[in-house]
């Protein structure tokens, strides 16, 4: 079994490849919930939805969030009525938020809500929130501490970042199906998807049971670099690395994760960094990592899985 840790777009795209390469019982996609928030009375889970919509093939590939064939009459009317519109909710997308909010109010666990929604959308692979209980990413910036969505959407990542807090992570509880995986012996590798190290992967690792499990592992951890050619494929990862004194490059990401990751998958355009990354003690696979189509997602996933198998074999 493979456990993938994923955030938004990059994670979702690699998840598509992993889901194509592996049957449902051999893949668990653990998704960041640090971006989740309450808005207009709804519980909104941006990364869970991005992964779910992308696996279901109903995602908006251009925007990178929300649904394809979306309409915006709700939010347009909300504007006319003087409501808050900084977080844009599509008419189709709303149906997920309404159903999730109702189910959570009825005390259905988030993992079960997600399972039901995903199943309705035709997704058979397990999309698992990192925690059943709320974890909320707070961003410490030069304008004070901000909620994640304030920083990310309302202020468009403009404030200079000094650090992060994951409120609620100390008591965060992974869902029962994930706990079974963590306590079992079935996992052959963990894949860190090319998601933001600070905003997507760090909150997952901050869940005590997940972080402890990865650190005491008997399996390889393979990561796909979210930094390609010195820039983030999407989002503020490179800007954050600079602001936090790290080098915005594939090598910088390698150093950021340190001992947590055994093997790296980096893009061809970063091939020149391979020797330096190897000097950090890592096994490096160089390939195309830009997932601009489904088939490229599948090829990258297969490459990452092959890299993990090689690492497992070399451990003996």
């Amino acid at each position: 079994m493979i456990v993938a840790l994923a955030g938004g777009v990059g994670g979702a795209r690699l998840a598509v490849g992993l889901a194509a390469a592996l049957p449902p019982r051999q893949l668990a996609i653990v998704v960041n919930t640090g971006d989740d928030f309450q808005h207009l009375g709804f519980t909104i889970c941006p990364d869970l939805d991005t992964v779910m919509y992308t696996l279901a093939g109903v995602n908006d590939r251009i925007a990178g969030w929300g649904r394809a064939d979306e309409s915006w009459n709700f939010i347009d009317t909300l504007r006319e009525l003087g409501g808050e519109i900084w977080f844009r909710l599509g008419d189709r997308d709303l149906a997920v938020h309404v159903l999730r909010t109702l189910a959570l109010r009825d005390r259905v666990p988030l993992s079960e809500v997600t399972r039901r929604l995903a199943l309705r959308l035709g997704v058979r692979h397990a999309i698992l929130p990192m925690s059943e209980t709320p974890v909320r990413t707070r961003v410490r910036t030069d304008r004070g501490e901000l909620s994640f969505q304030d920083y990310f959407v309302r202020l468009r990542c403009r404030p200079r970042v000094r650090g992060f807090r994951f409120v609620g992570s100390r008591n965060a509880t992974p869902p029962a199906p994930l706990r079974n995986v963590l306590r079992g012996e079935a996992v052959s590798a963990v894949v860190l998807c090319p998601s933001n190290p600070y905003l997507s992967i760090a909150p997952i690792l901050a869940v005590p049971e997940i972080g402890a499990w990865i650190r005491r592992r008997g399996f390889p951890v393979v990561a796909v670099s979210p930094i390609v050619g010195g820039a983030a494929v999407k989002g503020p990862a490179a800007k954050l690395m600079r602001e936090l004194g790290e080098q915005p490059s594939a090598l910088g990401v390698v150093r950021h994760y340190g001992n947590l990751v055994d093997g790296w998958v980096i893009d061809r355009c970063d091939a020149k960094l391979k020797p330096e990354i190897e000097r950090e003690g890592k096994r490096v696979l160089v390939t195309d990592t830009l997932m601009t189509s489904r088939s490229k997602s599948v090829r990258l996933a297969e490459a990452a899985l092959a890299h993990a198998r090689m690492l497992a074999a070399s451990r003996g």
Copy 2:
């Protein structure tokens, strides 16, 4: 000042005429809230919305509820996801439900929520819910007691009706602006709009302060018959009259209200009933009552107001 009691479509259309004939400070439109209900986590107020949308000119004239230029992507997606879809919520309409639900949760009174929404839609006349606290119409039928929306929307008024209950009416509290009107001396007439006597007007009269105020009145009460040519213009009024042993005609409605109403406005096609209605001790005005356009609403409202003035003058 004129106080109009209104339910859904018929009430809304006469309200348009009254609002054209009277400046905002001379009209209070008191609206039934017995149809209100909780659905998908929202507080939905169908009659308030119909009156508000109709006064704002954004109503769907063909459906008789909801907004014109509506889209249905939310509810279509809700169906795909297995949600409840028997009550159709349009994408634009949803914005009102979301904002109202949020404001009520923040303890803003329903009358104030309604005022803010109406103002945003450009409505300057007062749309006043009959009660700040919930009143819920229950329908006693041959299939047991049903909530109003179960009877009206889900079962499409098919069950045979035996009676009604207005749960919460005993402790219902009219909004402060309406209480000021009820306690003042400014009202020159009350107009019962052509709304369902059982489902729209009766719940309003069941609010103790409103019912007592009308019964001890020093002003005429004028009603526009909701039954034209032996049929309801819209909705189940005639069916209900038959099931409850009343005559489904303008005369039947006159007898239903008895002493509550002083003067009647009936349609030309019911002109032959005029002598019989007069034998009940009522003053009758015969005119066109089908409000198929805005100008017809205005003419009917002006006729009803003239009838009220005549009644007031003849009281001397």
